[in-house]
Symmetry: C2
């Protein structure tokens, strides 16, 4: 039986194997993934992001529990190196996660390594596709909210949850602008700490400013983005017809998690009703196609150059002014592309 | 006379025209740039980066003045939207810049728009090449220190100057890790403010931690990076044989600027002596080649797909499960690449 069939039959060892093969770019693994595609599109993908120490892993753990209690199967992709899922956290957290280890309705995959060009984002996308094909109802993508990689990753989600904590006035502003722009639901976790209400107010203020920024960005995109639309990998702005709710939680005691789940579900229903879900999934599919194309093109290009040594030789010729970048690239393209 | 020849003859209108043509991807402009390549490699490229409000534009202005006093010609590329060079600042700053407007030894170009895929980084690289071919002795690349784009841009520099200000304890930590990793010289500007010495101490501490992180990163790269070496666009780690100095300045009064210039020159001499300069320029040439290749490949791919409508059709087939991403990309590559 092919790997893809075993994945569809729910064989978790086949799932782990396929994920590893995709990560390692093993020949044939993309074809297996292709065979799964027809069975994808069912899962709701929820991104959970926040700075280290925001407690987003504990929150993810509680979200798993809540989804399971509602009868939903859950997949988790943890791309945060500080996450207990991916192995960087304190013992207490690890133990807390263990409760799901024997639950067949939960599959957890952690990603910590960084490959070449957009590797982590592509790997995450692959894992989401496999979990989706497995039939998971909900897929939680947990990632730390820094860096462009993470913005690309979190944009796989249908719903983006941004986790903050009180008492760090600057933290709200330290959340990457790119993340703020795409947040659908805000959580103020550790809300039993002093300053929780102030953080809520700060977020409300940020959201007000965001609405203005989104309007500006949309106008700018209208003015500039046209000629490159087909290749545009930049994030689309948040939609103005959804006002992101701000939920206070104390994840360690499970407080506020039900309210959070309600808002996540409400957002999904809103997206379905308004067509926003389709638009987001179109954008996701486009980015996925272009990223895959780019990956394959660069692989073919490296081959056409005669491997790394060939590229190094080009660099040498350019650096010693025996040639110039344009001529080298033109010759390279000549070897690579159909006339 | 060709545009390239006019650029080499010092015709500033031709320079401005070529930069604009490159930015707009006008046919023939890359060939003009290619003709300039043999005359590049002379200029020292200095990156100046820092958060908005760090006073890096004022500092850049003072650096221009100091270089001019030392008899060096100067080119400036300002990619910070808040910079007075690119037009976003208060009147006082603008007026201060005006002093260089009539100096033929200074050429200033601002870049504020963001194009498609890595566009800003490529534009900056193009502008640096043109200024270099013009014969500028020093090229200052000024950019705000946030986002991956900016990290890519600042990595064009032979020497990277990171500008901080006192009194913002968290600011030091808010500087993007990627920027911290590649800083060669630190400036604590507005050093007449309270807390300047504390900021210096915090930077010293950060540098100590950085040395450890660099050692770790190098080990990790050794362990993981091999198979993708030819296509690796990730920044190389800072070298451990240079301890970045920390200079206090009050740019508005010109204080500390001479000391800063001394350290920038010292870093350049160190880089030349140790071979670090060659290594950095090799890495820069490699990134430039790959970015140009990627740009041309994606352009050819868009054409082969039948434009944006063709990509949208693919997305539709993938989304409606009539096809899968792998098959679409395989067919796309088939139309594009030599068999």
């Amino acid at each position: 039986m092919e790997l893809a069939d075993r994945v569809l039959a729910g064989d978790v060892r086949a799932v782990a194997r396929l994920m590893r093969d995709l990560d390692d770019d093993i020949p044939g693994s993309r074809e297996e993934l292709a065979r799964l595609h027809a069975r994808t599109g069912h899962a709701r993908v929820v991104g959970v992001t926040g700075n280290p120490g925001s407690g987003k892993s504990t929150l993810t753990n509680e979200l798993i529990r809540a989804h399971r209690a509602a009868g939903r199967t859950v997949g988790v992709v943890a791309v945060d190196p500080s996450s207990p899922f991916s192995g960087g956290a304190i013992l207490g957290d690890r133990i807390r996660m263990m409760e799901h280890a024997t639950d067949e309705g939960v599959f957890i995959r952690s990603l910590a390594t960084r490959g070449a060009l957009g590797g982590l984002s592509r790997s995450t996308s692959d894992v989401v596709a496999v979990l989706d094909a497995m039939g998971k109802d909900v897929i939680i993508v947990e990632t730390v909210g820094v860096g462009q990689d993470e913005v690309d990753i979190i944009r796989l989600a249908d719903t983006v949850v941004v986790v903050c904590v009180p008492g760090l006035g600057d933290e709200v502003q330290a959340i990457k602008a790119g993340i703020m722009e795409i947040a659908d639901v805000f959580v103020v976790n550790k809300a039993d700490r002093e300053g929780a209400d102030r953080t809520v107010r700060e977020l409300e203020m940020m959201l007000h400013l965001r609405d203005q920024a989104v309007a500006r960005a949309q106008a700018e995109r209208m003015a500039h983005g046209h000629h490159a639309a087909g290749m545009d990998l930049a994030p689309a702005a948040a939609s103005l017809d959804w006002e992101p709710p701000i939920i206070k939680t104390v994840a360690q005691r499970g407080e506020g998690v039900a309210a959070l789940l309600t808002q996540v579900d409400r957002h999904h229903a809103h997206m379905e009703a308004t067509g926003g879900l389709l638009a987001r999934r179109q954008a996701r599919a486009r980015r996925g196609l272009l990223a895959l194309l780019q990956h394959e093109l660069m692989r073919a290009a490296l081959h056409a150059a005669g491997g790394d040594a060939g590229v190094t030789a080009m660099v040498g010729r350019v650096l010693h002014r025996q040639s110039d970048p344009q001529s080298e690239v033109a010759a390279w393209l000549g070897r690579l592309l159909r006339p």
